[in-house]
């Protein structure tokens, strides 16, 4: 075991980033024209990084597996983006955003990175408005805010329930401007299948053209991985169907350490699953918890009647409802952080109070918000304050204007009107806080190889707060990486173009080709999805919302067996040199089958509960997570050594100098 150096600059927390920027080496504009950078992924992190690096003058080569950069899954983010603007005058500040993020992450993230994130958060909003992102505004024409879980201020900027879409289209438009100028060479429908290391530095990638099947070599002076998280290791998640860990896992196998793989976010408010054929889960934004109240019945006879269909939720009297979040966490109520809300839902459902047939659903109820808003509107418009139908109608209008698209989505999927009946929701895998280990510069353990956005591990500790993923993606891409990568590239001004005609590229390409050939020629008896679903079940049952030693040990051996079976019996129809979606999936699932094992191993070695990592052995009497700061106040970073079981453990000690580490309480 070695100790990792995060490279955090000296000095006061609040001056670190400024002093760092003042002291780094720069590349002059003429030299930038001679330097190439590869960016893999076009979500908020990859899209914003590509655009900014191209504006600075670098030649950028960007890759995405979708048919257009605009499709990256950041587009599906709903609720909002945090920024410490304090437009509401409710006491927000850079420090408070920093504090909330560290506490929300259960004291398992790196202070300096988080402070920098909070610091640049305000620039993001300015930037996006300048780009023409249509954020929600109030009647005075100024920007509106809402609240998210785990905080006591309103600092979340939003565009209805489509904030991610609007921000991503902003980054996409900035990219388009550079594509038109020829500064970004865009490779759509390409998948990165390996990173090429020359003389210890990342110098290129091997990519497959997903239309022709051609295996291509692309070189650059630095490589940036912005390929998102690995939530699809669970098969069912709120990730896009194509979201995958392949780029991240391939760089891990080439020397980049993988940090905290067991930190996964299970989001409390998703539409419950309906059957075996289910292909993915749909999120209902956390913003709904601003106005929605979560409950289950207090009485078991009501639960039974609900399941039999003889009772409706709206018929259950107020005193027979258990608003369990408000009961357990009076200070934060329905706006506790995601890990807390998810565990609480699981606790009620495990106790038998789940409100649908599967027993895995709780209610998210808007009736009191509808009444509250309705009364306000009736008064504002001088109507009869005792007209309950009018109050309801006007209240529904307000709720529609705030969350209309989410309600419509719910109605289409569940076939029930959420304005009249409470929504049914249940936790689902949503985000992965773990990822490729990076230092303060966002550089991995391989020189010249960077990881940004959800793909890295850096800012959210063991639990991410709502509306912080968009913030981190754009902060990394617009405002952090463009500086830090320059410091590295300043040593490359004399290097000249990187040739792809070298043994390193050849070796990488052949390895990739062999692997694909093996998959296509295997001609086994089970489809790729067969394996993916099995893996997902193991992960959900044994590495899900709560974990224990026995289960994790079982998971490790079951995943090992499944992986061996996959390589023996997987069936990939179609050929190599054509559009072959099964082949694409097969490669991704092969990587998930390795990552899953490392995930379980990481969870097994972390003998404490923190954030999204809940070990049943380490809980308080009330069922809250019990951290062990003496023994586990560190980042676990794993070095690839062949099989996941052989992975070598490294530690980055976490220092908290500007924040008091205490028990995280939302009571």
């Amino acid at each position: 075991m070695a100790t990792l150096n995060s490279g955090v600059p000296q000095g006061d927390l609040k001056d670190k980033w400024t002093q760092y920027k003042d002291s780094i080496d720069l590349v002059n504009p003429a030299n930038k024209r001679n330097i190439d950078v590869i960016v893999v992924g076009t979500g908020l992190a990859g899209g914003s990084a590509s655009a900014t690096l191209a504006e600075l003058g670098y030649n950028v080569k960007t890759f995405c597996y979708q048919d257009s950069p605009r499709r990256a899954h950041s587009i599906a983010a709903q609720g909002g983006i945090n920024a410490a603007k304090n437009y509401q005058g409710d006491g927000d500040s850079t420090y408070r955003l920093f504090y909330d993020t560290i506490k929300g992450g259960d004291y398992r993230s790196r202070e300096a990175n988080v402070y920098r994130l909070a610091e640049v958060s305000t620039n993001i909003i300015d930037q996006c408005v300048a780009q023409g992102v249509p954020f929600a505004r109030d009647y005075g024409g100024l920007l509106d805010n809402r609240s998210f879980g785990g905080v006591l201020v309103s600092r979340t900027f939003y565009a209805k329930g489509q904030t991610g879409q609007q921000l991503l289209l902003g980054a996409y438009s900035a990219m388009n401007r550079q594509i038109a100028r020829g500064k970004i060479q865009m490779h759509n429908r390409h998948e990165m299948l390996d990173v090429v290391i020359v003389d210890g530095k990342a110098r290129g990638i091997i990519a497959r053209n997903l239309i022709t099947g051609e295996i291509e070599r692309h070189s650059a002076h630095a490589v940036v991985i912005a390929s998102g998280g690995y939530g699809n290791v669970y098969f069912l998640s709120t990730n896009a169907m194509g979201s995958n860990a392949t780029a991240a896992w391939k760089v891990h196998k080439k020397g980049a350490f993988f940090a905290n793989p067991c930190y996964t976010q299970i989001h409390p408010t998703c539409i419950p699953r309906s059957g075996e054929y289910q292909s993915k889960l749909t999120l209902m934004s956390e913003s709904l918890r601003n106005d929605g109240r979560i409950w289950v019945p207090k009485r078991m006879e009501d639960v039974e009647a609900l399941r039999e269909g003889t009772l409706k939720a709206t018929e259950i009297a107020e005193e027979n409802r258990d608003y369990y979040l408000e009961r357990r966490y009076p200070a934060f109520g329905n706006l506790v952080p995601r890990d807390v809300a998810s565990r609480a839902a699981k606790e009620r459902c495990d106790a038998g109070y789940g409100v649908n047939k599967t027993g895995e659903a709780v209610y998210l109820d808007f009736s009191s918000a509808i009444t509250r808003y309705g009364k306000e509107q009736v008064l504002l418009q001088g109507e009869d304050p005792n007209d309950h139908n009018l109050i309801k109608k006007m209240g529904q209008e307000v709720v529609k204007s705030k969350y209309g698209n989410l309600f419509q989505m719910y109605e289409k999927i569940v076939d029930e009107n959420p304005y009249e009946n409470p929504m049914m929701i249940y936790p689902a895998v949503h985000y992965t806080m773990g990822g490729i280990w990076v230092d303060y510069n966002l550089m991995t353990t391989v020189p010249g190889l960077y990881a940004i956005g959800e793909a890295n591990f850096s800012d959210h500790g063991s639990n991410r707060l709502g509306a912080s993923a968009l913030m981190q993606g754009l902060a990394d891409g617009y405002f952090v990486l463009p500086y830090t990568i320059g410091d590295y590239l300043s040593n490359d001004i004399r290097t000249g173009p990187i040739s792809t005609d070298t043994p390193e590229f050849k070796e990488s390409e052949e390895k990739v080709k062999d692997l694909l050939k093996k998959l296509v020629e295997n001609k086994g008896k089970h489809s790729v999805d067969y394996y993916h679903k099995k893996l997902g079940n193991i992960m959900w049952d044994k590495c899900g919302m709560s974990r224990n030693e026995t289960g994790l040990n079982e998971a490790i051996s079951e995943i090992k067996e499944l992986r061996a079976d996959f390589w023996k019996n997987v069936m990939v129809p179609g050929g190599l040199n054509e559009l072959n979606k099964e082949l694409e999936k097969a490669g991704r699932v092969a990587d998930f089958l390795e990552l899953g094992e490392l995930f379980a191993k990481d969870a097994l070695t972390r003998n404490e509960s923190c954030g999204g990592h809940f070990r049943e052995e380490y809980a308080t009497k009330e069922g809250e997570a019990k951290r062990d700061d003496k023994k586990f106040n560190f980042v676990s970073a794993w070095e690839y050594k062949g099989e996941p079981s052989e992975a070598k453990f490294h530690k980055e000690k976490l220092e908290f100098e500007n924040i008091e580490v205490k028990v995280r309480s939302y009571k």
């Binding site: 257009s68 950069p69 023409g132 505004r137 489509q162 489809s527």
Partner: protein, 248 residues
């Protein structure tokens, strides 16, 4: 329920392609349309038949990657949804369902139901942006108040997901709804005003160059648009385009 699927199969861009028939049974009405195709593909793989290729990604109706022309309608019979959000409860036991790719000269078929919509990207590259660098040194976000109505209308236009249903539904394969949505978003916001004239001219010219047809106001695009992008945007773009040309 039991269904008969007539699906367009086409090996590659150069292949001719044809409709093939596939029966499918025990379809649950709670399945999404794409989950039904997943089930079909699993069955095909088991029979060692190559599965049907179709584009899809987020399956939440927002990424715009899924397409499909189902029983003669882009994204199928339901309104205000993409194919991934279309559910089988919209169909009946015994139905025959025709599934084809989005058809337009500017959307060539890649394979089976997958088409190439990169022409949309090229139109955006011609001017679908505000020319501001991402330096972060812009003015404070609240320095220019924007009337709520303008901001909301700009937002409504900006919710276009770029799926191409408008083009597939139009008898002229016109991309006017798509292009006008972007033009409107920026022309309604002060940040987009500065280069509004060049933008509309460049984007419209690019649209023509890419081979999209003209608009004859049938309104089919608005009906089939999964995001309900309004025809008003086309009027707004026409106004912008004419003014820009007059003032040039």
């Amino acid at each position: 329920m039991n269904l008969t699927l007539k699906i367009w199969r086409q090996k590659s861009n150069t292949d001719k392609g044809s409709l093939e028939t596939y029966p499918i049974s025990d379809v649950s009405e709670d399945m999404s349309f794409l989950e039904m195709l997943d089930v079909l593909n699993e069955e095909l793989i088991e029979k060692e038949i190559e599965p049907v290729a179709f584009d899809h990604d987020c399956r939440e109706g927002i990424c715009g990657m899924c397409s499909l022309y189902i029983n003669g309608e882009a994204h199928g019979p339901d309104r205000r949804v993409t194919t991934c959000q279309l559910h089988m409860r919209k169909f009946n036991d015994g139905d025959t369902i025709f599934i084809e790719p989005f058809r337009a000269n500017s959307f060539p078929v890649v394979k089976d139901l997958v088409v190439d919509r990169s022409s949309f990207d090229r139109i955006q590259q011609a001017g679908g942006y505000v020319s501001v660098n991402t330096s972060g040194n812009t003015q404070d976000a609240n320095s220019i108040p924007i009337p709520k109505d303008d901001a909301d209308t700009a937002f409504d236009a900006a919710t276009c997901i770029g799926c191409g249903a408008c083009v597939a539904s139009c008898k002229n394969s016109s991309a006017m709804l798509f292009v006008s949505a972007k033009v409107s978003q920026f022309s309604l916001l002060p940040q987009g005003q500065v280069e509004a004239k060049e933008r509309v001219i460049n984007m419209v010219n690019k649209m023509d160059e890419e081979g999209f047809g003209n608009c004859t106001n049938t309104g089919a695009c608005e009906v089939e648009c999964p995001k309900g992008i309004s025809l008003d945007n086309i009027s707004r773009m026409n106004r912008e385009f004419i003014t820009a040309n007059v003032k040039k």
